[in-house]
Amino acid sequence: MAEPGPRAPAAAAVPAASSGPPVMIVSALSKQFGGLRAVSEVSLELYVGQVHVVIGPNGAGKTTLINMLSGDLPASGGQIRLGDRDITRLSSDRVSRLGVGRSYQKTNIFPSFTVLENCRLAAQSRAPHPWRVFRRAHDYPDTLALAKKAVAMAELDGREQRIASALSHGEQRQLEIAMSLATDPTVLLLDEPLAGMGAEESARMVQLINKLKAGHAILLVEHDMDAVFAVADVLTVMVEGRVLASGSPAQIRANPQVQHAYLGAEHDHG
């Protein structure tokens, strides 16, 4: 296999499984915090049916990148396109309604609500009807169905009525994903979904991500290298805010720059 350049376009590595045009196109996206350039001219494309994993050492700008894609942080430069639409300057709630779901590195749920209500609220945002103040929130079958589907997809069935704060850490991570799914997204941005998980929980999460691939374009930030190579279709390596390399897992593994800068000599996963 030909060795990719440091900025090999992701498109070159699109596997046959994914089809159609990219649903999200990020071009030359940058974020400046005062004197610090946290993200510098990052470009990538996300396709339905493909898991695009972003790896890199701490401080590489991965979470900042996700925060810009989800609208949590305004970009300092560059462009984010969702289909034909420029979403670079949209607020996070607009971005969410346009079909971009995200999960957070630090669990970010409604701890005092039940599992089902966490997901129902998320689903409600797709058909919000705020003016129908005399119709009970539970009388929207479509919203409820979407919430229950998300609960089932995240494998939380049977725990719908549990209070979210009473869930185990792993289950809370699943709920975090279920809430994103309940918004029926096209693009899923997952920020370290495996953080703090045990081996068994991690394996389940990897399975879940592979299952979600079918209907979603997924961008995943993850540190767990076993998990990364188990799910990645495309890998982007970030170092100090820049893309060091991008390509298929095999290409990345063979890339001497990556080996030197990030993966280290001990790395021989496969």
Binding site: S92, N108, S112, F113, L121, V133, Q161
Partner: protein
């Protein structure tokens, strides 16, 4: 379904209905009317504080604006239909809430508290320092608004017992209205905002608009209470807009228990009735003039030992989505 809160509310309501029929004195009829008006006021604040997570220290602005609207709309000696002055009062509150809400909701936490207070103080000084509503001495309203039109009368609000029952019906109505709203999509979203505003935004809710909706609704309901208060006493002075008033209603919430609808009602009753009790010099003698000391002490105790307020003694807070078992 039988649960302690519902039983408590039902018993209280029956007692309130029975009270005038048992020949309860005019003094108590008036006192309880005042309490029920304050219960409406407290419920309206709870929508902001207890359900949306917005601690306002300027809620009396709406109460006072509605009361002064009655003064201004009906200046003469002829009574005017409630169908004119009440909608006018509520509309003034809605507009004021919409305009000030758009500004205060850009702030959070301590800043929100201070900015709501600042707006209320501005309203206070408008009525205190200008002749618009009689200045610092206050102003009498010369006639009670009519419930009816032209020659036709539905009710005579000059009858104290009638007014008592009208206010009671409105209190129950506001309670039922808010309960229904809080269980709607809008109400659920507000409660989501209280728990985790950031995540609400991330799952696609335009948080600001929902908060503004809650702010306007709370302002209008507070206006209803202020209007009723002016109608009851036929006298309005700037003190009803002062920060004491905003603070008092907040204390009712703390006493009764915020984040429930029965809590503010209980809080209003306990607050006013205890105030009367502590002020009673046949019980406390000369110390009665230090009633605020006793009231303050009680509120400190409740805040420390009953974080869910008095209602927490009988009611477990139901979390969103849990099967229903209380009111």
């Amino acid at each position: 379904m039988l649960n302690p809160t519902r039983v408590l509310l039902a018993v209280a309501l029956v007692a309130l209905i029975a009270f005038p029929l048992t020949g309860g004195g005019i003094f108590y009829i008036q006192l309880l009317t005042k309490v029920m008006i304050l219960a409406i006021f407290a419920m309206s604040l709870d929508l902001l504080v207890g359900y949306t997570g917005l601690v306002s220290l300027g809620h009396a602005a709406f109460y006072g604006l509605a009361a002064y609207t009655l003064v201004i709309v009906q200046p003469g000696y002829d009574p005017m239909s409630i169908l004119i002055s009440l909608p006018a009062a509520l509309a003034v509150c809605a507009i004021f809430a919409l305009v000030t809400g758009a500004l205060v909701l850009r702030t959070r936490g301590i800043y929100f508290i201070m900015v709501t207070l600042a707006f209320a103080q501005m309203v206070y000084f408008v009525f205190h320092d200008t002749p618009l509503g009689g200045g610092s001495d206050g102003v009498f309203i010369n006639a009670r608004p009519l419930v009816g039109w032209d020659e036709w009368r539905l009710l005579d609000l000059n009858d104290r017992t009638t007014l008592y029952f009208v206010v009671m019906a409105l209190m129950v109505g506001v309670y039922l209205l808010l309960r229904r709203i809080l269980d709607s999509n809008f109400g659920r979203a507000l409660q989501g905002i209280r728990v985790n505003e950031h995540r609400m935004r991330a799952i696609g809710f335009p948080v600001f608009r929902y908060q503004l909706g809650a702010y306007v609704l709370a302002g209008v309901l507070a206006g209803l209470a202020g209007y009723l208060s002016a109608l009851q006493f036929l006298f309005v002075n700037p003190e009803i807009i002062s920060w004491h008033q905003s603070g008092a209603v907040l204390m009712m919430l703390i006493l009764g228990g915020m984040g429930t609808l029965s809590g503010p009602i209980v809080g209003a009753f306990v607050f006013v009735l205890l105030e009367e009790f502590f002020k009673d010099d046949t019980v406390f003698g000369a110390f009665a003039k230090h009633w605020q000391l006793m009231m303050g002490g009680l509120i400190v105790l409740v805040a420390c030992f009953l974080p869910r307020g008095l209602i927490g003694l009988v009611q477990r807070r139901r979390e969103l989505g849990e099967a229903k078992h209380d009111g």
